[in-house]
């Protein structure tokens, strides 16, 4: 077996791995331990009810769990279109000379702090979506299904669109790199059969679908956990009808950010917020596992 240096490297790498796994275990155990009081008192009740009444020590956070799932899923769908579209545009239509500029711009977009996205979302995106999407559709009578827009336009929908814009640079770069890595001889084979460019692109996307799913899993995790920007545009209102995406509401992370400062004043609010965090972690983890499993299966 290898030299002393390679054994050293092996030990070091293993040590890092152990540290990484321990820290994940530590985070999860803190979440569990801190939420034990309310789990002990209410069981799964907080997960399935939407009554949030701290003065009576009632903490059902289904409205926020639903809000998180709705905004993250909607963001995932929008971002799927945006990131696949931009990756295809980059790999197939943008001339070689312009690529570095476009790539730098995308990387720059990924490095904008989320609070900046939040400000832009609050002052530009939400009012824009309100005036040009939510109001017209509500006028068509859809407000019964999709909810009534708030005056500022803060809503689940605004949060979803903002999240989609935020996660697209990451998701898109994964898809883009894989698309560029499709071997030239495979592309030549496809074109030599008389396929047109759109047909070849669709087959290439099928060829790299595992990476697309990975990109979406990462996008979903980020969307579920994103706090600052979402807290600024989602409206922070207790709204059990989280499928009414035009209306404002809460996500778990915005609920925690919004409520934690006063949580110490109550007996069970801190455990309730930890419980909510645990639920969010579980959802994000489950979706990730599902997406990655699905990618591996075929």
């Amino acid at each position: 077996m290898g030299s002393k240096r390679s054994t050293d490297f092996f030990c070091l790498a293993s040590a890092f791995n152990v540290v990484l796994m321990l820290s994940v275990a530590l985070v999860v155990s803190v979440l569990v331990l801190r939420s034990l009081p309310i789990i002990h008192r209410d069981g799964v009740y907080p997960l399935v009810t939407s009554v949030w009444n701290p003065t009576r020590e009632e903490y059902g956070f289904l409205f926020a769990l639903g809000g998180t799932l709705v905004t993250a899923s909607l963001a995932l769908l929008i971002s799927l279109a945006l990131s696949v579209g931009s990756a295809v545009a980059y790999a197939e239509f943008i001339p070689q000379k312009l690529r570095p500029a476009v790539k730098n711009f995308m990387d720059l977009a990924a490095s904008i702090p989320s609070v900046v996205y939040g400000l832009w979302g609050l002052r530009v995106l939400s009012p824009f979506l309100r005036s040009y999407l939510m109001e017209p559709l509500s006028a068509l009578g859809l407000s019964g299904v999709l909810g009534v827009p708030s005056p500022a336009g803060t809503s689940f929908l605004s949060a979803s669109v903002l999240l989609a814009i935020m996660v697209t640079p990451f998701a898109s770069s994964i898809i883009r790199e894989r698309l560029l890595a499709v071997p030239m001889h495979v592309r030549e084979a496809l074109y030599s059969l008389g396929l047109t460019k759109p047909e070849v692109i669709l087959l290439e996307l099928r060829y790299i679908r595992r990476s697309v799913l990975t990109a979406m899993a990462i996008a979903f995790s980020r969307a579920v956990g994103e706090t600052a920007a979402v807290a600024m545009v989602v409206g922070n209102t207790i709204n059990p009808n989280f499928f009414r995406v035009f209306s404002p509401g809460y996500t778990i992370s915005s609920l925690i950010a919004d409520q934690y400062p006063n949580a110490e004043a109550y007996y069970y609010m801190v455990p309730a917020l930890f419980y909510a965090a645990l639920a969010m972690f579980a959802v994000g983890f489950a979706v990730n596992v599902l997406l990655l499993r699905y990618g591996e299966r075929r």
């Binding site: 001889h185 084979a189 074109y191 030599s192 059969l193 099928r206 060829y207």
Partner: protein
């Protein structure tokens, strides 16, 4: 006997460098026509300009005429994918689509280009193409397996079947045996000779002996130009050009 491929004063440059410098070529129908020459002489570029696969690369400029079975390849009204349906191509590296099954590799082209009306017709076409490529007996029981499981020689025959399934008029092979062992090479060579009954075969090779074994006509290419063309026997026994003689006697290349 008509002309399948007619190349007239073809100039191709890539990234500002001239690769083809006024190539003229007439390929008769239903023969094996070999273009031989050393590496870098422009043989592959010549093939890639005939079916416009060259369009996939950046910085390419083409001047001159190519006519395939009456179709003016570089006419602005000509759809490149139509040209590619007319001209099948087999590449130097066997390149089955890695995530597709053996069956799907052959069926892909006919399916997307809607050459068949029913699943039964498609099955028959796939079988026909695999039989033509002498692969059917070896794969008929495992058509659903990934193409990447096949050996190199089998993969190359699969690529030939894939090209044939499009029912092309011309089949171009770009050094199809350069990545194969001697057994697989002689199988492919035998196949090439058989194929000329159905299609015109245009073969590029850097191996003059391969050209002499399979071709009816040969062209010798050097530095972006055709040095000499003629019936194989004539070129190999009485080369008109000193350079050709040096090449076929193995003194360079």
């Amino acid at each position: 006997m008509g002309i399948a491929v007619h190349v007239e004063d073809l100039w191709v440059s890539i990234g500002g460098r001239d690769i083809l410098k006024g190539v003229n070529l007439k390929v008769p129908r239903n023969v094996v026509f070999a273009v031989m020459g050393p590496s870098g002489s422009g043989k592959s570029t010549l093939l890639r300009s005939i079916n416009r696969i060259l369009d996939l690369y950046e910085g390419v400029s083409v001047r001159g005429n190519v006519v395939v079975e009456g179709v003016d390849v570089y006419d602005s009204r000509t759809d490149p994918s139509m040209v590619r349906r007319l001209v099948g191509m087999v590449f130097q590296i066997p390149n089955p689509i890695p995530n597709l099954s053996i069956y799907d590799n052959v069926a892909l082209g006919p399916k997307i280009n809607k050459l068949v009306k029913s699943r039964r017709e498609l099955d028959e076409l796939v079988r026909w193409a695999l039989e033509k490529a002498y692969l059917w007996e070896e794969v008929k029981d495992r058509l659903e397996q990934p193409a990447s499981k096949l050996s190199g020689g089998q993969q190359q025959r699969l690529c030939i079947a894939r090209a044939l399934a499009m029912r092309p008029r011309v089949l171009m092979l770009d050094e199809p045996t350069s990545n194969l062992d001697t057994v697989a090479t002689s199988e492919i060579e035998g196949l090439i000779v058989e194929l000329k009954r159905d299609v015109t075969v245009l073969l590029v090779t850097h191996n003059p002996f391969q050209a002499s074994r399979v071709a009816d006509y040969v062209a010798f290419m050097y530095d972006g130009q055709i040095v000499e063309v003629g019936p194989t026997g004539q070129v190999f026994t009485r080369p008109a050009h000193k350079l050709t003689e040096k090449y076929i006697t193995g003194r360079f290349g």
